[in-house]
């Protein structure tokens, strides 16, 4: 069987992911990852959270969907978590994932 060499290499992007509060305790923070071009926000976070099952379960439900209370930001702007599957990550993005805020 003949194999064809792909002429192109998949491009890789540098993305920074920041978890806060109890998510940070479970998953760490300021994680710089090489992300594949075209990856969506939910896929990126799922891959990172998968390293710690407790952390994963804090953020995702049994269907791999963000739990309702999880808040997402991309470069300091809120992203509706239901839009995460359609939100494509770009090179240099800073993604933040955190539980409801409790300042004051």
């Amino acid at each position: 069987m003949r194999r064809y060499n792909h002429c192109h290499e998949e491009k890789v992007m540098k993305v920074k992911v920041r978890f806060f509060a109890r998510f940070k305790e479970l998953l760490g923070t300021d994680i710089v990852v090489d992300a594949a071009t075209g990856i969506a926000l939910n896929g990126l976070i799922r891959d990172i959270a998968a390293k710690n099952s407790e952390g994963y379960d804090e953020i995702f439900d049994e269907n791999g969907t963000f739990k309702d209370f999880v808040i997402l930001m991309r470069n300091g702007k809120r992203i509706d978590s239901t839009d995460a599957p359609q939100t494509k990550i770009e090179d240099g993005d800073e993604i933040a994932v955190f539980p409801p805020v409790a300042g004051g």
Partner: protein, 139 residues
């Protein structure tokens, strides 16, 4: 002064610095670590985003409530019982504006500024649950 910092602040100096022609009232909010059987409180912030949000809230409060000055200092790090967590100093021409403006600011901070606090007890810690917000939903 709008800041997120570890250090405490001198409220009297903030008031003195904020006095200007037309000021008729200051309202101060001082949120402190309550003795809820805890040893310490630990606070963390998404610093850049939280600071930008505090500045936005201050400007919005000035416009809506006709305020002359707003200072907000939110502390982070480990704080003991009785220490200041959040100081808001609002100056206005009249008391009604100052009270309303200060209330507006504290409620806006609680609703959306990315800061979290953890109660540290002898037998472990507990993140204080947020009162507001939802990850799914347009804002």
């Amino acid at each position: 002064m709008i800041a997120i910092q570890k250090e405490d602040v001198d409220v009297g100096k903030l008031i003195d610095a904020a006095k200007q022609l037309g000021t008729g009232a200051f309202v101060i909010f001082d949120g402190i670590v309550r003795d809820d059987d805890i040893v310490e409180m630990e606070l963390e912030a998404y610093h850049d985003v939280a600071l930008k949000e505090l500045k936005r809230i201050a400007e919005e409060a000035k416009k809506i409530h006709n305020l002359l000055s707003v200072d907000i200092i939110h502390r982070i790090g480990r704080l003991a019982v009785g220490e200041n967590i959040l100081i808001i100093v609002v100056g206005a021409g009249h008391r009604a504006e100052a009270f309303d403006g200060c209330r507006f600011i504290i409620e806006a901070i609680k609703a959306g500024v990315p800061i979290w606090k953890k109660e540290l007890r002898k037998n472990g810690g507990r993140w204080v649950p947020g009162e507001h917000q939802h990850g799914a939903g347009k804002i």
